[in-house]
């Protein structure tokens, strides 16, 4: 297995890619949990004036008919008006695209943004929906039976490839 990139470096690269492209009042919204860590860092690096939002997508997932509803204390919090604003969804890993679909649905429950962009730290391929990111930190090859997981060890982000439970 090749070594995985350092997420902290990827965040900085991602911020540079986004900097020139975002309007000054853009709203950043991180998808729990990994996306929220990334969004926090991007928000700081980009010095955005609009406060940071977070999205919990559980209620819009397409698989609770299969896996059921789990205890979820996290909830979406968007401390700015979404209406008419350009909103950037931030997630850690882009894979099937289902989380993004759920996040877009969740976001629209709060209002009607003028545009929604997608920024991800890593794109690992394997899309099951027509979803593409506008800003990508890096593309990573991961075996199909593995998940690319972002963890937060005392404030230091790390990637790990773990075998998917059957």
């Amino acid at each position: 297995m090749s070594t995985l990139p350092d997420p902290e470096e990827l965040v900085r690269a991602l911020a540079e890619r986004m900097r020139a492209q975002l309007p000054p009042d853009a709203g950043l919204v991180g998808v729990y949990t990994g996306g929220a860590w990334v969004a926090e860092r991007l928000h700081r690096l980009l010095g955005l004036s609009t406060p940071l939002g977070v999205l919990a997508v559980t209620l819009h997932r397409d698989d609770f008919g299969v896996i059921g509803l789990h205890r979820e204390s996290r909830r979406s919090q968007i401390p700015f008006s979404v209406d008419g604003r350009e909103v950037v969804l931030v997630d850690d890993v882009l894979h099937t695209g289902r989380t993004v679909r759920a996040a877009v649905n969740e976001l629209f429950d709060f209002g009607r943004p003028s545009a929604v962009r997608l920024a991800v730290l890593a794109d690992r391929g394997g899309r099951e929906l027509p979803v593409a990111a506008d800003f990508v930190g890096t593309s990573i090859e991961v075996a199909s039976g593995e998940e690319l997981v972002l963890s937060n060890d005392n404030g230091r982000l790390r990637f790990a490839a773990v075998k998917r439970p059957d």
Binding site: H60, F64, G65, V66, G68, L69, R71, N105, D109
Partner: protein, 320 residues
Amino acid sequence: MPLSPKASLQLGPDGRLRHLLTTEGLPAETIRLILDTADQFVSVSEREVKKVPVLRGKSIFNVFFENSTRTRTTFEIAAKRLSADVINLNVGASSTSKGETLLDTVWNLQAMDADMFVVRHSESGAAHLIARHVKPGVAVINAGDGRHAHPTQGLLDMYTIRHYKKDFSGLTVAIVGDVLHSRVARSQIHALKTLGVPDLRVIGPKTLVPEQVERLGVRVFHDMAAGLEGCDVVIMLRLQNERMNGALLPSAGEFFKVYGLNAEKLALAKPDAIVMHPGPMNRGVEIDSAVADGRQSVILPQVTFGIAVRMAVMSMLGSP
């Protein structure tokens, strides 16, 4: 605590909620799971779009053998915010008057592919009976059966108390008024004991406090002032006029004088005590308007939280 047969009917072998029939025997962990799940639904109701697709494509039948527009409406709102299809039936007025039995009514509705029944009935045990006879996978929620139980009301009261007081372990809680006829009081008492409230009190006249209620672990007070002293939570009960046969009380006015909650009596509780009432209130009978509308009243938040708690229960019962 060993599970009663009632509890095992509502919990599957894996411990998951299958029906919600009573708070009696409901494990603390299950109650906490319901309250935690309700947390996320509170925020859904605050959004521009107050709807999530959790129960999309499910059919929920509100079957009310005893009329209650308000309770039925709260279940209806909860189900609709979860995207379920809701069918309301006031059966009292139709089938039973033609002689159909309770189970025949339910089996007919089940044949229409109901996924969940919300049942209110004037007979204690009606929801249990139905739960025992529905197909596997069909869930039953007890929305009030006779004098027995009204678990979603009990749970929304737990949610409200937790919201304002955070923790149950140091609380003094008083339930005041017509405990005898109150399924709400029973549901509250079981849940409060399970969640570990150390000082649970019941206040009311001898004629309206059930015999041997102390066995449930409550302290009985017939003196309002003594009972209210030091309380963190004061739960007023509705004086059930429609259940009263007249002999139990001299008059509503007399009741208010002794057991009605006014500002003066409330001052005996802790200064930050909250006042709750399951509604509908009889102003001037069990509660004074100054208290009902006062700063310690959390009666309207109870209603709001009630939607979220019912959403939580329905979503747990409706997901595999």
